[in-house]
Amino acid sequence: MILTNIIQRTYRWAQKNSIWVIHFNTGGCNGCDIEILDLLTPRYDIERLGIITQASPRHADVLLCTGPVTQQTRDGLVQIYSQMPSPKYVVAVGSCSNTGGVFVNSDTVLGGVDKALPVDIYIPGCPARPEAIIEGLLKLRERISNGDAN
């Protein structure tokens, strides 16, 4: 009993402190994407928070989505999500991926990422500032350490 508790707490600690991110642009304008790439660069350096980007969805814990979900990217988005090992989380970066943003009412845009996947954290902004993304990822860390996941 105590042992499982300790193991669970260790796992939570590790999951909280090691967030491997995969980034997928679901049809956005690049603005949020370059802000996410900016997070890797010296000024923001999210590696100090244990966050690194991964190339393969199999290695990732968090799917960072940018942009509104267009009809074309929806299947790809769901496929990438299904390739990720659980526990997995989805973060919607930018107003477009929250609700569709300025592309609301467009025929080819379905809307926010929540139209296709369960979203854990919404980060507003157009584009979301790197600080805002960091704040969102820290919120996600809280969620992980509480054990909430979709």
Partner: protein
């Protein structure tokens, strides 16, 4: 000589970076610095608003919404998750009632909680 110097530009930069302090900001552990003119969260001055709806008309993302019962009775809603933070409402408002502050809009787990009701003029009169 110049060629040799050029050849080692990258090595120089790397060694310099090793010696110098890293350029990373302290952000999550310290307060952030945003410039004065940064277009962040929307702030609203209910006293100045006349309920004309110009901001709603010009908003490119349908982030502002006005529920108008009469000239005096209306509610102005703002959805931060839709907002493009473009500053058009600030430009369109003739009374200076709506503007951007330089505060960051925080992340959230439920975007639907986010509708900010700005003004309910009936409520304010009562």
């Amino acid at each position: 000589m110049d060629k040799i110097k050029k050849r080692f530009t990258l090595l120089n930069a790397v060694v310099e970076a090793m010696i110098k302090q890293p350029e990373t900001i302290k952000y999550p552990f310290a307060a952030m610095e945003l410039p004065e003119g940064f277009r962040g969260a929307i702030v609203f001055d209910p006293d100045k608003c006349s309920g004309c709806g110009l901001c709603v008309r010009d908003c490119p993302a349908e982030a502002l919404h006005i529920n108008k019962k009469s000239r005096e009775e209306y509610t102005l809603l703002h959805y931060p998750a839709r907002c493009a933070y473009c500053g058009q409402c600030e430009d369109s408002c003739r009374h200076g009632a709506i503007s951007h502050s330089n505060k960051l809009v925080g992340a959230t787990t439920h975007k639907d909680d986010w509708v900010l009701v700005f003004k309910d003029s009936k409520a304010s009169q009562e």
